[in-house]
Symmetry: C2
Subunit: 106 residues, 2 copies
């Protein structure tokens, strides 16, 4: 999607035709982005954490990371953990309800 490009999530090289030329790594990233969007993350959060997600043919860079970036990543990590906790708690509630239902009908 051009939307992702406009948001700075992916970059595309342009041929002399002005046609977009997606690298293999970019296609892998698109998969990751769709997965994360489907999981409820916003493009802002995805853009923040994308650099530390390994994708095929696109090694992670560890040098020259700003302290500001590190604190932002720590914050996103914690927010992800909170989000996971909320979802897990409610998933467990649904699961418990279902097992209770089965216990009563069994």
């Amino acid at each position: 999607m051009r939307f992702y490009e406009a948001k700075g999530l992916i970059t595309s090289a342009r041929g002399p035709n002005n046609y977009r030329d997606y690298s293999e790594a970019t296609l892998g990233r698109v998969q990751q982005i769709r997965e994360l969007l489907g999981a409820g993350l916003s493009t802002q959060v995805i853009r923040a954490i994308l650099p530390c997600l390994d994708s095929p043919r696109d090694p992670i860079v560890f040098e020259g990371v700003l302290p500001e970036t590190v604190t932002a990543l720590e914050r996103e990590r914690d927010r992800l953990t909170e989000r996971i906790d909320v979802l897990a708690r409610n998933r467990d509630a649904v699961a418990d309800y279902l097992t209770e239902l089965q216990k009563r009908s069994g």
Copy 2:
């Protein structure tokens, strides 16, 4: 929010004034709804799973549950688990990246 009421997530009794009268249980539900919305769930999913989330002063009902409802809940439970897996995987990737950074700078 009236939005939640329009979506069928909460109900409000009306006094003779036509003013909304939120019960204590409803206020608790609003908290849950906000939490789930913040975690990236849609109001449709929330409406589906709300009935099996216990809230203060509002016991869960186990009788007269349609088989259709049960399968819907099982589906939502599985979708929640998928979502949690995606988030946990990426959270771990961020965390691993951060520890690797610290290892290199330490």
